[in-house]
């Protein structure tokens, strides 16, 4: 326990340093102009990082695995489907696009439904081997991706540009009007989460042990599934899909903080997220002055890490 507090404090300090660096580095004369913009971006990255961490850790607890994440199972693609359908049928001038809240609400509802259906058919009844689930997730993702591509071909090219910018992850084009609602969602999620942390701990013992200890398992799973899809929807709406990010931060947190306590695991994953996003964005923008975006780098590293985890799992299974 002592060791974990020390580790969390270290992560916290690193996160603060990342934030300060990004906020003030090389700001000079352009303070009035640059500072508010940077704060906005930092806020978006923090909210996104925390939302993804929280959503991924709880999702992995209820699905009892450490490789599948909401994003890997196709949740991000679902966001693309919703936006494409909106552009396809209603167009970019429709209220569904112009009104950001309406757009956001539609995405949340679709993603929650998608998660519930996915859970009902894949996780609920029998225990499928993780590779099968993974394969199904990939197939669903590809299928939805193809659907999106197909419809995009039919969309007016000008409209298409607008759509594309929505579906491409970027921390530099944060939608400020969504930030407040995202922060509100995050706060509500944490108030709820605070009450269920110890239940989550018990749930990691598996369905039967958790039920034995008086946890209303099936109902909790539903609640948590909804919670995690809302959080993923929030982060995707805010900055776009970053598929492998949740996988990395959740697993780093498990490895770094060997504990069953969700309060610690989620806090750890959130801090790691902030360091990776804000610190990473700082490096990309100011140090390396790269033309590529952070999300591309994250997905690249995340993809490699994903393969590593798969290999490790398959070796452990032998």
């Amino acid at each position: 326990m002592r060791k974990n507090s020390l580790k969390l404090i270290t992560l916290f300090i690193l996160a603060i340093i990342s934030i300060l660096l990004y906020a003030f580095y090389d700001i000079k004369g352009g303070f009035d102009y640059a500072f508010p913009r940077r704060v906005l971006k930092i806020a978006a990255m923090v909210v996104t990082g925390v939302a993804i961490s929280y959503a991924t850790v709880v999702f992995q607890t209820i699905t009892q695995n450490r490789i599948l994440t909401p994003s890997v199972m196709g949740m991000d693609s679902m966001y693309g489907v919703v936006q494409t359908l909106i552009y396809f049928f209603a167009g970019s001038m429709s209220v569904w696009v112009v009104n950001k809240y309406l757009n956001f609400g539609a995405a949340i509802i679709a993603m929650v439904l998608f998660a519930l259906i996915l859970y009902r058919f894949l996780f609920r009844s029998d225990k499928h081997p993780i590779y099968l689930l993974l394969l199904i997730g990939m197939i669903i993702g590809t299928l939805l991706g193809s659907l999106v591509t197909f419809m995009q071909v039919l969309i007016d090219p000008v409209e298409y540009l607008g759509l594309q910018s929505m579906l491409f992850a970027s921390f530099t084009k944060v939608k400020a009007e969504l930030l407040y609602i995202a922060i509100a969602i995050l706060i509500v999620s944490f108030i709820y989460g605070f009450r269920i942390m110890s239940k989550l701990d018990v749930m990691s013992l598996g369905r039967e042990n958790a039920m034995n200890l008086g946890v209303n398992y099936d109902r909790m799973v539903m609640n948590i599934l909804i919670l995690s899809s809302v959080l993923i929807a929030t982060s995707t709406a805010l900055v776009g899909p970053i598929t492998f990010f949740g996988l990395i931060v959740a697993n780093l947190s498990y490895q770094f903080l060997v504990t069953y306590k969700h309060s610690i695991l989620i806090l750890g994953a959130s801090l790691i997220s902030i360091i990776a996003l804000v610190g990473g964005q700082f490096l990309v923008e100011h140090i390396f002055e790269l033309r590529t975006t952070l999300s591309v780098i994250i997905n690249f590293i995340g993809g490699i890490y994903f393969i590593y985890l798969l290999l490790r799992e398959s070796r452990a299974a032998k």
Partner: protein, 255 residues
């Protein structure tokens, strides 16, 4: 008191448990025996609310178990299933502490700690209380899980083949501990056993299932005899008395 009334469960066309009625006598060890696939685990799961019955009901103190609040029920009835797969790394002590969850909701009091200590003592786990579960042998792991349900301190303890991974020494040790829980602390134990000799020597009552139906239910002495065993297992099993214990000799070198 647990009353099981006309309990049935079917999967597809198969009646896995069919109209089973029985009363679990408080303050006893009741063994569930019967061939593989007889429905023992399914019955135990329905009694402990892990599984919903299709028809019939289970009453705990005259109230349908479905009506009990989850946390209150968890203070009265505990269950340990056959296989326990976990994704987290826990030490033995952490696992046993989870047994206090219905009382503490994650914040252990001194009383909770005392129960945890006691359970660890009972199961002889002192030497390994800080070891990780996934580093233990199958038998040690099983003992740690049993310690968790002991810490849960329920009147009714349901165990599904808890001797599965255990050697003879630890099997005997566990049966003796269960006896102690019943005789000294007044607990009620329901246990699924594979080896009928453990059922014969350590239990007060035996319930035999076959093809989902209840075929025998009574005091051990009335059930451990060749005629009854033939009905349950379709085998001729001689019963010999040794040191006052009825031993079933189900090995037969002549085929």
């Amino acid at each position: 008191m647990i009353n099981i009334k006309d309990l049935s469960k079917r999967y597809g066309k198969k009646n896995v448990v069919e109209k089973v009625s029985l009363t679990i006598q408080p303050g006893t060890i009741t063994s569930f025996i019967g061939p593989n696939g007889a429905g023992k685990s399914t019955l135990l799961s329905m009694v402990s609310r892990l599984l919903e019955a299709d028809t019939g009901e289970v009453l705990l103190d005259q109230n349908n178990v479905k009506k009990w609040k989850s946390d209150e029920f968890a203070k009265r009835v505990s269950i340990l299933k056959q296989s326990n797969f976990m994704n987290v790394r826990l030490t033995v002590r952490e696992l046993v502490s989870f047994g206090r969850y219905p009382y503490s909701k994650g914040r252990l009091t001194d009383i909770d700690e005392k129960h945890v200590d006691q359970a660890i003592d009972y199961m002889n786990l002192h030497d390994m209380e800080d070891q990780f579960i996934d580093e233990l042998s199958g038998g040690q792991k099983q003992r740690a899980f049993i310690a968790m349900v002991i810490a849960q301190d329920t009147d009714y303890i349901l165990l599904d083949e808890p001797l599965n991974n255990l050697d003879m020494k630890h099997s005997v040790q566990i049966m003796k501990i269960l006896r102690k829980l019943v005789d000294e602390l007044g607990k009620t134990v329901v246990i699924v056993l594979h080896d009928i000799n453990f059922a014969s020597v350590y239990s007060d009552r035996i319930v035999a299932l076959k093809d989902g139906k209840l075929v025998k239910n009574g005091p051990t002495s009335e059930i451990i005899n060749s005629a009854s065993l033939r009905e349950i297992y379709d085998m001729d099993i001689p019963v010999q008395v040794q040191n006052g214990c009825r031993i079933c000799v189900y090995f037969n070198s002549h085929g």
